[in-house]
């Protein structure tokens, strides 16, 4: 199906483990984003990417790593998960620098 998909939809992991959240889009959008959504904070930008091999930090990047070797994929890795990283993570993409963003369905991550 065309669009933007995230996997897994739900994940429970233990403190200290590495976990990778996947994001795939079929529109060939240049820009991709990772957000986390928490009660009281709304959507906060973790990392973003303007093209393959071009990434930069957002508002809350600590503890996260991203890569973008292909235009369509933008995985987010938590190198050593902490309880404070329990959240709902959303991936988004946009066609250009001044265009609207489209979101995936989210990954609900619980760190125990």
């Amino acid at each position: 199906d065309a669009g933007i998909t995230q996997s897994p939809r739900y994940k429970i992991t233990e403190t200290g483990r590495q976990v990778t959240l996947m994001c795939h889009q079929t529109w060939s959008h240049s820009y991709m984003f990772w957000y986390r959504q928490d009660l009281g904070h709304g959507l906060r930008l973790i990392y973003y990417s303007a093209a393959a091999d071009i990434t930069d930090k957002g508002e809350v990047p600590d503890g996260y790593v991203v890569s973008r070797s292909k235009t369509e994929n933008f995985p987010l890795t938590l190198e050593s998960a902490t309880r404070s990283q329990t959240s709902v993570y959303f991936c988004a993409s946009s066609r250009g620098r001044i265009t609207e963003a489209f979101f995936g369905q989210g990954t609900r991550l619980t760190v125990v």
């Binding site: 930008l45 973003y48 620098r97 963003a101 979101f103 369905q105």
Partner: protein
């Protein structure tokens, strides 16, 4: 201080009423604003975008921008229970040559039958 502020609600209205949602912004390089709707346990979905002052209509939805007061609004006419969701406003920010989105915290809307 967040760049985009929204009242979290909840805002409860009876079916058929007009829903009025507001955001204020502090700085906006392109003044390109978006409204998203988010149902519980779903991703935000784009409702409307606008980059000029005045009104933009799409069916029952009207987006309004008042640049003089840095106010953006969304109106939903003839509200339905299916409109019950959280509504997020967003502003396109820039840093260097990048564009990225700054979101409000969202307003929860409940439309009662």
């Amino acid at each position: 201080q967040k760049e985009v502020e929204q009242d979290p609600g909840p805002l409860s209205v009876p079916e058929g009423a007009i829903v009025s949602l507001n955001c204020t912004y502090s700085n906006s390089a392109f003044q390109y604003f978006m409204w998203y709707r988010q149902y519980s346990r779903k991703g935000p979905e784009l409702l409307m975008y606008t980059y000029s002052s005045g009104n933009k209509e799409d069916g029952r939805f009207t987006a309004q921008v008042d640049k003089s007061s840095k106010y953006i609004s969304l109106f939903i006419r003839d509200s339905q229970p299916s409109d019950s969701a959280t509504y997020l406003c967003a502003d396109l920010m820039t840093t260097d040559s990048w564009g990225k989105f700054q979101f409000g915290a969202g307003t929860q809307v409940v439309v009662t039958p």
